[in-house]
């Protein structure tokens, strides 16, 4: 299939009424849920994954990807209006968005945020589009040994970067890999870690595991907080909207620069929205005229920079996910798992025989980004009202969905037990300061890693470890894992050498 044919097939697939409708459903669900801190896009994807079982290829892609792709747009609502970050990517939005809202310019700030989100999202998708012809031949050059190292690199990088304790992160990633081994080994037929349970012969289901690991601890957080995030009056949310849109277009060059920052952060596995937003904010502060005096006091450019970057990031993060099969975050790992459920295999296949799916994702990013911004502009008040929902109403509904979604994995009540078990594991990990994302990544990538390792050994013997590609990747891996640790050690020793400053 030529690239042009694939692009056309992807567009037609996404514009089919069923897929389009599911994309709208995904956008509405995502935008509503991210408006409530504690219920993120990850929980939403996990709860909706069971529906992917009964959907066609493009329909499933439309539903799963749209929930994730637009989750950084609506989370600006709580950040700007209530100074509560709706997700990792909206922390820096508060810096200037909230002071603007306090000045009575909430509508302007929101409109600027939504418009720059759309432009950033489209930019990210275009970069992904431009990357395909570049990475396609590269992917075809790589063999099993390189892919094995790439997969391990993904787990290690997410492990080392998803917290400030790389050791804990990588260990949790290894735990995920260990969990992925449960069940009948595909090559030998030997049952591994099944404890003589027939249920475990098929391994642990991705859906109950994810729901348990992420939705249950978040649910407990919601219940513990005991009240909604806001019950204040929403005020006028339409006056100043046009000005906000104009602000975004007037600062188009800032949007492009910050989108580049976002794409760059997205490409590196492990760095998430919470890094992209601060990088973009810092970049804007350093490069915008008079920013040092006005940023933090309600400068619209601060809002524009952050929202463009966090949305552009999504396109960038899909490059390693789709091309090399390295999801850079737990949410992407979940999408990766969802694509596997419907028979789409990221890596070599998605860039060759299933290129139309890749293009459908790009189209989805473009159409979804614009649609979400329009919907958010039109329904800001309704979305903001979601923040007023009390946890006592949300918790039982999400719990019910969690139970039903888990059961849908393989129509067995054991899945519900597994979900609850991983709920406890997730809560304990969270309480102990062990990051959960690497675990999910390990579970999703484990089977791939094992296959690549075995193929590498069969074809090249132990010598696969000294192939040039492997050595280069291993060097990158060591540098990436060791660098944050060394930087922190240097900072610690500096702080110790200057008494008083390190306190």
């Amino acid at each position: 299939m030529s690239m042009l044919d694939a692009a056309l097939a992807g567009l037609v697939g996404i514009l089919h009424w069923k897929a389009f409708l599911l994309m709208i459903v995904g956008i509405v669900i995502s935008s509503t849920l991210v408006a409530m801190p504690g219920v993120g896009s990850k929980t939403a994807i996990a709860l909706l994954l069971p529906f992917a079982f009964v959907l066609e290829k493009f329909e499933a892609v439309a539903l799963i990807v749209s929930i994730w792709a637009v989750s950084n747009t609506a989370n600006s609502i709580t950040a700007i209006m209530f100074s509560v970050p709706g997700g990792g990517g909206s922390q820096a939005t508060i810096m200037d968005g909230y002071p603007m809202a306090q000045r009575g310019e909430a509508a302007r700030a929101l409109a600027a945020a939504f418009t720059s989100s759309a432009l950033g999202g489209v930019f990210g998708a275009l970069v992904l589009l431009a990357a395909i012809p570049v990475v396609r031949p590269l992917v075809l050059l790589l063999g099993a040994p390189e892919f094995f190292i790439l997969v391990m690199m993904g787990v290690a990088m997410v492990g080392s970067l998803s917290g400030n304790a790389p050791l804990k992160g990588i260990a949790v990633g290894a735990l995920g890999l260990a969990i992925s081994m449960m069940g009948i080994h595909s090559l030998t037929g030997v049952p591994r870690y099944t404890f003589d349970s027939i249920y475990l012969f098929d391994g642990i289901g991705l859906v109950p595991l994810t729901i348990g690991l992420f939705a249950i601890p978040e649910l407990i957080f919601l219940a513990t907080r005991g009240k909604g995030i806001s019950n204040v009056s929403l005020g006028n949310l339409s006056e100043g909207r046009m000005q906000g849109i104009k602000d975004a277009f007037k600062n188009w060059w800032l949007i492009i620069r910050c989108s580049v920052v976002g794409v760059w952060v997205g490409i590196i596995p492990g760095l998430g929205s919470s890094v992209a937003d601060w990088f973009a904010y810092g970049h804007a502060m350093q490069t915008c005229k008079g920013a040092r005096e006005t940023f933090g006091k309600g400068d619209v450019r601060g809002v524009i920079a952050v929202d463009a970057a966090t949305n552009a990031k999504e396109g960038g993060s899909l490059i390693p996910t789709l091309a090399f099969g390295i999801p850079g975050s737990s949410t992407l790992a979940l999408i990766f798992g969802g694509l596997l459920i419907v028979g789409i295999k990221p890596g070599r296949e998605i860039l060759t025989t299933q290129l139309d799916v890749t293009f459908s994702i790009i189209w989805l990013l473009i159409i979804g980004s614009v649609l979400t911004s329009v919907l958010c502009l039109l329904f800001t008040r309704q979305l903001a009202m979601a923040t007023m929902l009390r946890p006592s109403i949300l918790v039982p509904v999400i719990l019910a969905m969690a139970v039903l979604g888990s059961f849908a994995n393989s129509n067995r009540i054991d899945d519900v037990v597994v979900m609850m078990g991983f709920g406890v594991v997730g809560y304990v990990l969270r309480a102990g300061g062990w990051p959960r994302p690497p675990l999910l990544l390990g579970v999703v990538l484990g089977p791939l890693a094992e296959n690549f390792l075995w193929t590498s050994l069969q074809v090249y013997g132990v010598g696969f470890l000294v192939r040039p590609g492997v050595l280069i990747l291993l060097t990158v891996l060591v540098i990436t894992v060791a660098y944050p640790y060394l930087v922190r050690r240097r900072a610690d020793s500096k702080a110790r050498s200057v008494p008083g400053e390190g306190v």
Binding site: P50, F51, F53, V54, S162, G163, N164, L167, K168, G169, A171, A174, L175, L177, A178, M181, H185, L187, T188, V190, R192, Y193, I216, E218, I220, F221, A223, T224, R225, G226, R390, S392, I393, V395, P396, V397, L399, A400, V403, L404, F407, A408, N411, I413, V416, M420, G423, V428, R430, A431, G432, G433, W434, P435, R436, E450, L453, W454, L457, D492
Partner: protein, 170 residues
């Protein structure tokens, strides 16, 4: 000091045991089946052992110097760090209550099946939080309709009946 370390490092020790078991179970298997478990188990065991060593070291320096060291303080928690309210007594009680609801729901699923347990849990949860009767009825009925309409009729999920209903032949 030992009891304090053991208490704060329970999770680390647990993980150490898990990786130990991963290696132990893999030993007797054919090479294809044990290669990956041995590799992952060894790496995981090594990493967690180092972490445990660090925790011991931190506890020791704290007990000797009386200064709280950095290593144990919620490091690695940027995922979604536990909030201050969750650390309070009320927070812990509320968390325990949620686990109670989970356990109760699971028991209900075994005994009464999905059609009854799931809406019942929603209704009881709302009742426990003193929501208005109108809302309780509306949401309970709504959830019951979703269980039946979306999950049974649309997704064709064959929900088990529950032991009591089976026993009563209903």
């Amino acid at each position: 000091m030992i009891s304090r370390v053991l208490k704060s490092s329970m999770l680390t020790l647990g993980l150490l045991l898990v990786f130990g078991y991963v290696i132990f179970e893999a030993v007797g298997q054919p090479i294809q089946a044990k290669l990956f478990p041995m590799t992952v188990g060894s790496v995981g065991f090594g990493l967690v052992a180092i972490q445990f060593g660090r925790e011991l070291w931190t506890a020791w320096t704290e007990s000797v110097g009386g200064v709280a060291a950095k290593a144990g303080q919620q490091e690695g928690a940027t995922d979604f760090a536990i909030t201050d309210i969750e650390k309070t007594r009320i927070g812990r009680l509320r968390a325990a209550e949620q686990f109670g609801w989970l356990a109760g729901l699971l028991g209900g699923l075994f005994l009464l099946g999905f059609y009854i347990s799931v809406p019942l849990m929603v209704g009881l949860y709302l009742l426990r939080h003193r929501e208005s009767p109108k809302l309780i009825i509306a949401m309970t009925v709504g959830v019951a309709l979703v269980v039946w309409g979306v999950f049974n009729q649309l997704l064709n999920l064959p929900f088990p009946q529950g032991l009591i209903l089976e026993w009563l032949n209903l």
